[in-house]
Symmetry: D2
Subunit: 467 residues, 4 copies
């Protein structure tokens, strides 16, 4: 991806019934780190404990957890979270899991995604005397659960989830029960695995692999799983809704070694590259991808086109969250610091540069300039997804519509801005095809504005009847 503003909100993980629950949750968070790098946290308990032990902090998993902290978090069940801050500003207060005391027990909650009716629910709850400590959506679910009529935690969570709208994957833990829920449209991914005698849930299968768990199945859209000594129980939040997995998980977010709905992400991406070469061929000498997320698509393109695949850009993997952005004078060097072109590879050559998407277009423009500066003769930009035109309301941090380069522009206008010799995108149907389905199986709202869940709640009534 050559734009720099698309960011997944979060990743979640939960383990029940395993002696190394905390260590393996720690590993799972490392495996999910690409989904969120602003904070990390783990809540843990032993079955039968009175409370949950919690540690969370701002920064990478490696920064948040030290040996001492991990040892303080003993337990045979745990939930973990990594986070970007799309809703609620970046502060420790908003880090997850959120641990609260309710229904005479402790509940640890963590979720990935975005609730479209959170603001309205918060107003209603505050009007009834609830006091919020954070600005995160997660706390809305906690308060709804606290006020639910049932005394049983599963029933209470179900009541709460029936009030919320949006796209989410949620895990919740009490000392004795693990819960996992996925939004009715299945926009955000969540999978279930078997881990020894216990169970594991996670945003992606790569986390199951890392913890040594065996994949069982994806959590179904609209399903609330309860795992305890009685075993695994499946509850329904709503009746069956049309499934709409976020297509961008395939294109960019998910790790290449994860499988979504049975399809390997790397292989889908390679197929995207192959289809891109079929639909938008070009005479060229080398194919390169923008590292790291576009390398699979680039090798697919190269194979299909019969053009050698080369390392045209080297990515500096030490540029992290804390990198100090340079002022205007040095901006081009700032990009080159991250992605350095190999003069010996591109000099005097016609280059196909494969990228997975263009968001704002600023980085694409500089990359084209850098490649020309080291002698590329022609630069043909090929994007393995359709033009990104509409904001996401289900947990992806895009710029507002005005900042999306494709919003209101033709492909030729975009090409002129970024300065490539040619530019082509893959269309929605082809993307769905590569992911093993048809367009109606996915949320493609960012390409076509067709939102599976209304982006804003207009209903002004409060939830429930009498408190």
């Amino acid at each position: 991806m050559t734009g720099d503003t698309l960011r997944e909100e979060c990743g979640v993980s939960g383990i029940w019934g395993h002696p190394h629950a905390v260590t393996l949750t720690h590993y799972a968070l490392y495996a999910l780190q690409h989904r969120g790098q602003e904070s990390a946290g783990i809540a843990a308990a032993c079955s039968g404990d009175d409370g949950l032990k919690l540690h969370r902090g701002l920064g990478l998993v490696a920064e948040v957890f030290g040996e001492e902290t991990l040892e303080s978090l003993r337990g045979d069940c745990a939930v973990g979270h990594v986070r970007y801050a799309t809703t609620g500003n970046t502060s420790l207060r908003n880090a997850q899991p959120l641990v609260v005391r309710l229904k005479s027990t402790s509940l640890g909650l963590a979720h990935n995604g975005n609730l479209t009716n959170a603001a309205r629910l918060r107003r209603c709850l505050e009007g009834r005397g609830s006091i919020f400590q954070s600005t995160s959506d997660t706390e809305v679910i906690a308060h709804l659960t606290a006020r639910a009529r049932s005394d049983e935690m599963g029933a209470s969570l179900l009541e709460a989830l029936q009030e919320v709208r949006g796209g989410y994957a949620m895990v919740a833990l009490t000392p004795g029960q693990l819960f996992a829920a996925r939004d009715p449209a299945g926009i955000r991914p969540l999978c279930l695995g078997k881990l020894g005698d216990g169970w594991m849930v996670a945003s992606e299968t790569c986390a199951l692999d890392t913890a040594g768990a065996t994949f069982v199945r994806d959590v179904a859209p609209g399903e609330l799983l309860r795992i305890d000594d009685e075993g695994l129980t499946s509850l329904r939040i709503t009746g069956k809704a049309p499934s709409a997995l976020c297509i961008f998980e395939y294109i960019y977010f998910a790790r290449p070694d994860s499988n979504l709905e049975g399809h390997n992400v790397h292989q889908v991406r390679k197929e995207l590259g192959r289809l891109l070469a079929m639909d938008h061929p070009v005479d060229a000498d080398v194919v390169s991808g923008v590292p790291a997320s576009s390398l699979s698509a680039a090798t697919g393109y190269a194979e299909q086109a019969g053009i050698p695949y080369e390392m045209g850009l080297v990515r500096n993997r030490y540029i992290g969250r804390t990198f100090i952005q340079p002022g205007d004078e040095l901006r081009k060097l700032g990009v080159r610091l991250k992605l350095n072109p190999l003069r010996k590879v591109v000099e005097g050559r016609r280059v196909v540069l494969v990228d997975d998407s263009i968001v704002r277009g600023t980085t694409s423009k500089i990359l084209v300039e850098l490649l020309r500066a080291v002698g590329a003769e022609e630069i043909h930009l090929r994007i393995s997804s359709p033009p990104y035109r509409y904001p996401c309301y289900y947990g992806i941090d895009t710029s507002s519509k005005g900042e999306l380069i494709a919003a209101g522009r033709t492909v030729e206008e975009i090409r002129a801005i970024v300065g490539a010799d040619s530019l082509a995108y893959l269309d929605e149907d082809r993307v769905a095809e590569a992911a093993g389905g048809t367009r109606s199986d996915f949320c493609t709202a960012c390409f076509d504005g067709d939102y599976p869940v209304p982006p804003e709640e207009t209903d002004e009534d409060c939830f429930g009847e009498v408190d």
Copy 2:
């Protein structure tokens, strides 16, 4: 590389005469971060200042330098350093640059490499009343310079460097002069570039790229460069010695976008893969490389062999220095956390796994097991360098000889230990051929024990005559 103990000692950088000297040195250290991740530092000055401003700290460049720190380091000339700790333990005291007061001025010193006679020199200096504050080789050079007969800094440094033996690249700064020196055999790399109206030196050309400098030439073996208002002066430490650049810079250490002696590292590695496919072909379904350092060689192998190149392993780029190594029970998971195999790619396939070297063999063994566990039918390990058998005395942190899996073992014995179906190495001559020379042009001591500089000084006389 599937062993986990080969580590470059350091990277150095120096800029003279540029208004953004500090910011660009900061960028250069990011570009050289792969050469050292335990500490980082910058010393800076304006021409005509009385002293040097210094900041150094333990950790990555991103951890050591914040906005405030960088602003406190004003100047138009600067030297920088990133470090592993082969000699001198990891402590702030040993972080570089070292800044000392001598000859009525301030001198900032940073070096990459290892002095083979440092212990003897230190004993002599202490016997004459010098007090050492650190355990680093750099301080030996500082004390020799302080005691040099000349009052001119260039002449004093030359006197000092004529006493030391080993492999090194050194930069030194006073308010007004920048120095750069390379050991007489040219074991460690160092290059010179033009940066606006000023000059830049760095361990690798990728640092020049990152700072926007234009490559001029490599610093010659045995050369001491002095850069000041008079321009650039070349001094000779010794008469001409046979050149012996460390061959492992090509194989593993240097960044793929760097050029050494005119050869691009990525292209040399791709050629290594191609020669490996010629010399050691095998019937297989897919070729994969061990990320990240072996991907160039793997694509070369795939291209030459006509076998599809695939992503068989995904590397987690968030596992850093501070990762807590798991106990025995979870050791295999610890490796899988770093390198996760893609079941859908390797299941039922005959896999060629290309790696650049094997050091201790422990990781290779686990990778083979992991690939088998996800269904690989055959695993053919191909190494793009000869067996690594001898310790390095010029700045590379290897295990002692006893821990090197290839020391005293045949290739077949190694294959049996790591459990691959077949194993083959590329030989010394082929490696030299890929790097555009013959075996005598390089230091290949780690393969054949042929050390260009005696590893230990036996001469018991002190340097100089009368102090």
Copy 3:
């Protein structure tokens, strides 16, 4: 005091309508630091702001607030707090002020004291769906306020305070209103001052002095003050109850330069010493006090008895909260580190040692030993208060009854334990006399077990009727 376990819970301060509100609150906290040293915090706002700015941290005022933090807390009104942790463990989560969002505004709350029915109220509130984030009593008041029927903040706070029982002084801030409340029995002190065109409230008058405010009057028992643009309004929490100011504020807690109900604390203590000399005279050569809290009483004793006052013990003022208590072998040195006897002063002399109280007796015993070891001929211990026998339920952290040396022991038994040649206490009536009243004007429960508010709530009904 020679016991080491009596600790005031907290100190509070509030300023309304002054351009230096934050700086002066910071000063006020320094002045109240003796009342709590485990955490400190300030919440501030400008009239008409939307929210409150908050900073709080573990440690001394000097550790919690730096220049940067103070600058971030702009406003013309502020509340501040210093804290010991009698209820709720020591963690940042329990530090005060507590800032919550309720009734469409932000409320900052801080209090000194202890609610005797907090546990019951918390259970009721949780049963109705309130979620608690801390274990502090303050949050109980916040939730009661959030659920109050009124929309007006003053009325809501009044509703809340009518539910709670115990001894407390509370300050509360919204952007625009400052509130101050004192428990119906007036157990904990709270005073009101004029500060320029604005107002100030604080636990002690020394804080008014430090901020440059002029004392106006004590806040009345059972009074809730509201200060805003309309001026100062006095509301009643309950009808008039018998007043019962904690007598220990005079004896030990309050600063000597504070006045309580019109009486200066130093002068009351000096009078306690004088009465002690009248009631319990002894032939001796020197009078010394245990520093720092008993020096006033000691000079009073010396003056009345006509015996020279001397510095018999020197207190090390650098021994703070973080001092590492020595093991058994060095315990006596640990005491001597804090209080060193002056051999030249006591050697060969008959010493009257005046202390304000004995709690556990361990320190008294060691002091007597230390004085004997440097040559004191006789040691006559005189205590300027009655035997401390009963635990406090209104905000003082005493040991449980079993650890109080006077519980169940005669004066002679205590003397034998501490090893003094004689021991005498001042009786309750004399203490009340020194403080300008009679026994019924004060809470003397720690001496006689006569609690003005029942220590435990037994009523099992929840507050209010319908939520």
Copy 4:
């Protein structure tokens, strides 16, 4: 002291041959904390170790040492240091002890005082090739020792100390030997004690008390003590010089429970107060002292004059090094925060305010204003020492001469500036009398400019002959 700029440079301590050497050195530093609050450090070793373990840091003893740090410092001998920064700026680099490697062993050095020829010695040493790491005087001694001709440490230290001039107390430690030295004029204090089977040295006897050591004698002026398995050996740095103990140690610096040359500091101060009352009587109602250093003198004055001693000012003991000085507008409050007058004590009264010295006069002026503001009728300032007119060159941080209020002013002029109704100082002879000697027994340079050691070295020759 009502001026706020007089600060002792440092305190030192050393223990040899005791199983709790580190813990007791830690205690000793607490006891010496009043002599330096900017950094603290301990170097420790077991006899026969190869090196010294060192920990030092910026801040108070309580901030620098935690449980973990202390445990890491094992040993049966140790030296410790607390420091103000008169020479060498405040940075960790200048914190003491300084530990260096020389003469095939490790040497830990710490000193209190100031070398008057340090700058010249440093220039000479640098000219001969010594490299300095700090700007402290201590490192000068280390380099001189390193270059001494002898191989024996005691002889080398003696050689080094024979080169330096000034006022100092020094301790030095190798694994096996403890050294202690006092300058030839005995300006700075240093005493020797017996600690179990081992020995202890310290700047003041209160440190011996705190560690449980028994006082043996003061270290003699010009004496270098060597303590090792052979026992205690006394070496002479120079022939006998006239003794000149700093008189200000009695007046202000030393702790009241310390004895200097057999005289108790508290008792000397009380005697100063008594003599002051004889020489400068006044009709008044109460006598108060400026806390904490002037309380002894104030009680002496009160006793002699037959006027009641009262607590007229309360000192806030929580105002520390890090207190943020207020701007002009709030400056008076800044003083009141530290020293609050008791209205009820001084209102309508004629007050004698006793202070030990006036340095710049700014605080005195504000105190007089504050006392008047709370109603004092008359204020008679009595100073228990002569006017402070000349800078100190032996380790006391005074303002430059221009900032001393008494420099070039008559007593009446000073009185007019500070605004007291009367002002009187005690003269030099009376101070010496109180301290049990005559004027020639002490260094009184700050009063009369009669410096026992020339303040600046003019000799331009380097030390020694041939290096």
